[in-house]
Each structure stands twice: as C-alpha cells, then as structure tokens.
Symmetry: C2
Subunit: 377 residues, 2 copies
C-alpha cells in the first residue's frame, strides 16, 4: 500500500500511502481528534479547509464514550463524524498506561478502571482490535505496553517480548475481524509499534522481531515521554536502519516543528502530536518566524494576522488584537481560531517539507527552519 516515491537528502523520503479512504502524501502530520472531534471546536468540514490528510482518533476514549459498538451501529467512525478521508486509531495502550487507574498487567492484557465512570475494563490485543474494527479506521495501531522513561533495562526487555507476543495476537485478531460479513472497514490495516525506550539494542532487536510479521506499517512508540531531544534523535537513527524501507514509518506523539523536520531528515514519514491544538488553546501560536504568545500585552493593539505569511482561514480575516481579546475574555471562539491556525500551520509545514524534498532543497530548508520554527519570539 506504500509507494516510496523518492529517497531524498539525509535519510528523508517522499512517499504515498494508499488507504481505503484515499491516498496520503508523506511525510504527513495527522490531526488529533481524540474523541472524534478536534479539541477547540473544529468539525470535519473545518478539517477539509485546513488541509488535513489523516484524522487520528483514540480507541480508549471512544470505547468509554460513546462506545465503539454504538459507533459501529452508526456506520463506523467515518460516517459518525462525517469525515471521508483516512483515519488512524491508536490502540488505547498509551491512555491505559497514562490515564486509567488501578491497572494490572498480565500476559492476557490490562485491567483498569475507566477515568470517566470508574467502570472496570479489561483490554488486551483482541479487545483493542475489536474496538478498532468497530470504529472502522483505516489504520489500526497494535496494542502495546508504554513503559515510562527511565525504567530498568530488564523491565524494557521483558516488556518488548510481551509486546511482540501481543502483536502476533493483534494480527491474528484483525485478520479474523476483517473477514466478518459485517466488518465496518474490511480493508483496515494493522501497524506494529516498536518499543525499547532509549536502549538501542532493545529497539533494534524488537524492530527485527516485529518486521518479520510483514505488517503494512511500523511505528516508533514510547518516545517523547521525557527523554531529551538528542536521545530521541539518536534512538530514531539507531532503529531506522532496521525498519523495512518499503513500509511507512510513524513517530508517535512527536512533536515541535523542529522535531518533525529532524525526524523527517532521519527517515520518518508519519507524525501526530497534540501540541498544535493544546498549545493553541493557551495562546501559543506557530509562525514562520517562531512561536508567539498571544497572552503578551504587546499584541493588544496589533491589527495584523497571527502570521502575515500564513494563508489560513484565520490569518486571512482576523487580527491578533481580536483573537487576543477573545482569549482574555475566555470566549470559546479564541480556542477555535487559535487551534485552526496552528493545525493549518502544521499541515502547511508538511506540504512545504514535501515540496522541498521534491525539489532537492530539504537540507537547506532544514538548516534555515529546524531551530527557527520552535524558538519563542
């Protein structure tokens, strides 16, 4: 399903990934709509306006509310939220290990309590695949254990082995669910997740194991959880050489514009992060000169757009002074306009990266923008 269009400068790549809901040009940033909506009040018609290629929703959140069975009855997540483009669902693993309480991990899976109503839930590979099959996303992520950094080497080693066994069960389960006569999206694809913290030998060994399963895509998980940027880059470099070249690579939960540029340089194709929407809601806005903070009084009477170089629906019409007023007055419209700008910025950044890759100018682009875009101005 993945076509590697071109090997580029550094280890960077241009590609295209076919899904049951259309093709994705890579490198790509996926826009996070945890509960089937972008936080800040953006609907599917807005995603179309800001250049979204892939929407990402959350298995755990949609399982506890409104329930994946309900969404299946409504025709699946695409129809439920009225988004006809590609959707990736994460496995729920990250939320189980970060949000939910009182968990117990066994070979079978994880027992925990819902953060919404305290109900006891069990989730293992089969349950995660069942939920994602009910949602009918195009890309289902494997159910894995997300181990915090730092943790002991020996814990990581044993966890990676279990995650490999869980991945085999995920593959068997999804293959079977896709064959069901009432499958929501029978073309749903499973991507594996590489773990191992910042222990390069564990990362490599685990990658080699899961590559044998010949899945349509592979993610690097468990990063951006407290390690330094340099540790993250080093880990990507170590493991990337062992990732199948003909499959897309997804760096989960990353990151700043600079992180993304650096990871593209190191061979990554897919990204997601809550940063543009979360930071946007607090007035931290991305521009081609760096990050501005709209809480700063200096923007009180600034009647220019957030970024004069930006062509987004917000910058084409509204001023910093107006949006700052909405932010101070706690108007929900402030969230919407700020998130809309930031997501457009990320989507447009990826478009620019693809253009630079196509033109053979990505090294110069990286030199000019990798630091610049993440600095606070």
């Amino acid at each position: 399903m993945f076509t590697l269009l071109r090997r580029c400068e550094g280890r960077a790549r241009r590609g295209v990934y076919e899904t049951p809901h259309g093709a994705v040009q890579t490198p790509v940033f996926m826009n996070v709509g945890t509960q089937a909506a972008i936080k800040g009040g953006l609907a599917a018609d807005d995603l179309e306006r800001i250049g979204t290629q892939v929407e990402l929703s959350n298995t755990y959140h949609l399982h506890v509310r409104p329930g994946d069975q309900l969404i299946k009855e409504m025709g699946g997540l695409h129809r439920f939220m009225s988004w006809s483009g590609p959707i990736l669902t994460d496995s729920g693993g990250f939320q189980v290990f970060s949000l939910a309480d009182l968990r117990r991990i066994t070979e079978e899976g994880v027992s925990f309590h819902s953060h919404v109503d305290g109900a006891k839930i069990f989730m293992g590979p089969e349950e995660s695949m069942r939920i994602q099959a009910n949602l009918g996303s195009d890309i289902a992520m494997a159910f894995d254990e997300c181990v915090k950094i730092p943790s002991p080497y020996e814990y990581f080693r044993r966890s990676c082995e279990r995650t490999t066994r869980w991945l085999q069960r995920c593959k068997a389960a999804l293959t079977s669910y896709n064959e069901e006569s009432d499958a929501v999206n029978p073309g749903q694809m499973l991507w594996g997740i590489n773990q191992g913290g910042v222990y390069h030998d564990l990362r490599i060994a685990h990658m080699q194991q899961i590559a044998e399963l010949d899945l349509p895509g592979y993610a690097i998980g468990g990063l951006a959880v407290g390690e330094t940027h340099q540790e993250m880059y080093d880990t990507i470099e170590a493991v990337e050489a062992y990732m199948p070249e003909g499959k897309p690579r997804y760096l989960m939960g990353v990151g700043t514009p600079g992180n993304i540029i650096e990871a593209v340089w190191r061979g990554v194709d897919f990204f997601d992060c809550v940063m543009p929407s979360r930071n946007g809601r607090h007035g931290h806005l991305f521009t081609w000169d760096g990050v501005i903070n709209l809480n700063n009084r200096r923007y009180d009477r600034d009647d220019r757009p957030i970024d004069p170089a930006c062509d987004c629906p917000v910058c084409r019409r509204y001023s910093k002074a107006y949006i700052r007023h909405l932010l101070k007055a706690q108007e929900p419209l402030a969230l919407r306009l700020q998130v809309m700008h930031n997501l457009y910025f990320y989507n447009h950044l990826m478009e620019q990266i693809r253009a630079e890759l196509d033109a053979g100018t990505f090294a110069a682009f990286r030199a000019a923008y990798s630091e610049r875009l993440s600095r606070r101005i």
Copy 2:
C-alpha cells in the same frame, strides 16, 4: 431610514431599515455576540453562513474588556471583529443593573464596580454614548434604567421621568460625537427605549414623551424580566398604538419562537435574545416540530439531523447521535454545532415570517406555529 413596506395581518408589518452597513429586512432577529463573538465559537464568517442580518454587541462588556478606546483605535467594532453588516450595541444599562455590584444611581448616572476586576466605573448618558461612538455601531441604544418587575408604581414613574431626561442627554451627546472629525461611524443612529414595567399608563405616557424626540427607532425595554407572557403581550398592545408608525420597533431580549410570532403579530420589527445560543449550549435545540433536548438518551443512536426539515450547515452534515456524543464528552464542538443550528433556526424563522407576511398568510402561520415551535417534544 425605515421604510414601511406593507401593513399586514393583525398589527404586523413588513419593512426595511437602512443602516450605514446595509439594509435590514424586517421583522428581524439580531444575533447576540456579547463580547464581539457569539458564545459557542462562531466567528463573523459563520454569521454570514447562518443568515445573520444584524450582529448585537454589548457596550458594558466591551467597555470593561478590551476597552472601547482600543476598539476605536483598531478601526471600530466592524473592523475589529471583521463583520461588515449592521451592528446594534445596547447601552450597557441592562448589565449595569444586573451584573455590576455596589451601584449608586443619581441624576447624573450610575456608579458601580466592574464584574471583571472590581474597578470603579461611572456611566451616564454621555459615557454610554461615548463608548458606543467609539465602538462605531450602526444603532446605539439609549442609556436607561432597567427596573425589576415587580417594583412600586411610584418608583417606575420617577424612573421613567429620569430615563426621558437621560434620553435627551443621549441625543445631544451622540449628535455631537457624530460631528467629530475622527468619528468611527458618523452615521450612527440613536434609538430610544420605552420603560414603565407592566403599568400601561406609565408605558403610554413615557412613549408619548420620547416619541417627541423624533428618533430613528424605538425599543420596548424592561420586559421578559419575570412578568407572564400574557402581561408582556398586553403591555406591547397597550404601548404599540403610541409608537410612531414610520419608525422601527424593537422588543428587547425576547424571546421564544412563539413570543416572537406573537410580538410580530402585535407590530414589533426587531428582536434579540440569548435564548438560541444559551439554550443551544445546553443541548436544547429548536426544530419545526418543537424543542428537543439532546441530553435525552433516546438520541444515542439517532443518525438523523437535529431537524430533517432544516437546511443549516449542521443539519446538512452531522447527526444527533454525533452531536449528543460531543455534548456528553464536553467537546467545545458541541457548543458550536448546537448554537449554529439554533441561530440559523431563528434567522430562518424570521425569513419564513417575512415570506408569510408578504404572501398574506401570516395569520395561518401564527395559528400553526405559535404554540408548536416552543413546545418540548
């Protein structure tokens, strides 16, 4: 500026009102954007999509934040919020008497403390006009005292007399401000406000006094504050006969779809109310069959739009099941979609009322819908 196009059934009228920012077809419902934004996350471009004719903003709120002087420096409220259609600003009187603390009323005006930061503020007729001139709205409302119902007859009588004296000062002040070389909107018009509670003789006497000032429009204020619907209708009927026929009539803060139909029948042209946005945010949604409550579990799996008969951007694309999920999950998008539907419904209701008036079928429309639209189903 007002052209009475046609006298219709009952006391109803069809008209058109010219403002410096375009013509308004009446009867009309004005969409309330208290702090220069519709609560629920709607921006000026959304207002265009939902058929808004007049945007209404709040003098008191914009004075305390971000400040009317700032908005003047930004080119006035139209430019600040990027809305090129007509704007009406209320006088701040209602908020001074309902929101602000520790007020003291004298002949000069009212002293009170800001509900945002406690700062001491004085507002009288000249101050209210100064603020509204700085905002540059098309229609400025007179500064009046809003007396609660019930209050003693004698208090109402003396208050009406003062409100008349205040109105004379408002007229003198705005005339002078419009002549200033840096006036934001030199064509800004002052509308007077009739008071007197539910005492018909006071209403009539006050209306006769303020009609002598020959202002371009007149409002009925101080209703929808606790009296019964019948008392409100009776008061409108009593005072309407004394309102200049060639001037628009505005019933402030009203109301349900049924209230609006009944007031149109009794000769009212302009309306505003927070009900569609406020109720919308809580899941109470207007349809042509009555009001539905999206909190009701029966809509869990309802994949139809809020109102199959509605052509709004929300009903054309999203289901009740999806919006209910967003509401339960406390996603800001729920507010936006619900408010967008409700405001479209009100704007479209007025369009329908105008069409019925034009066709001479308003009496039948009133009989069919006056009760129906406000019932809970």
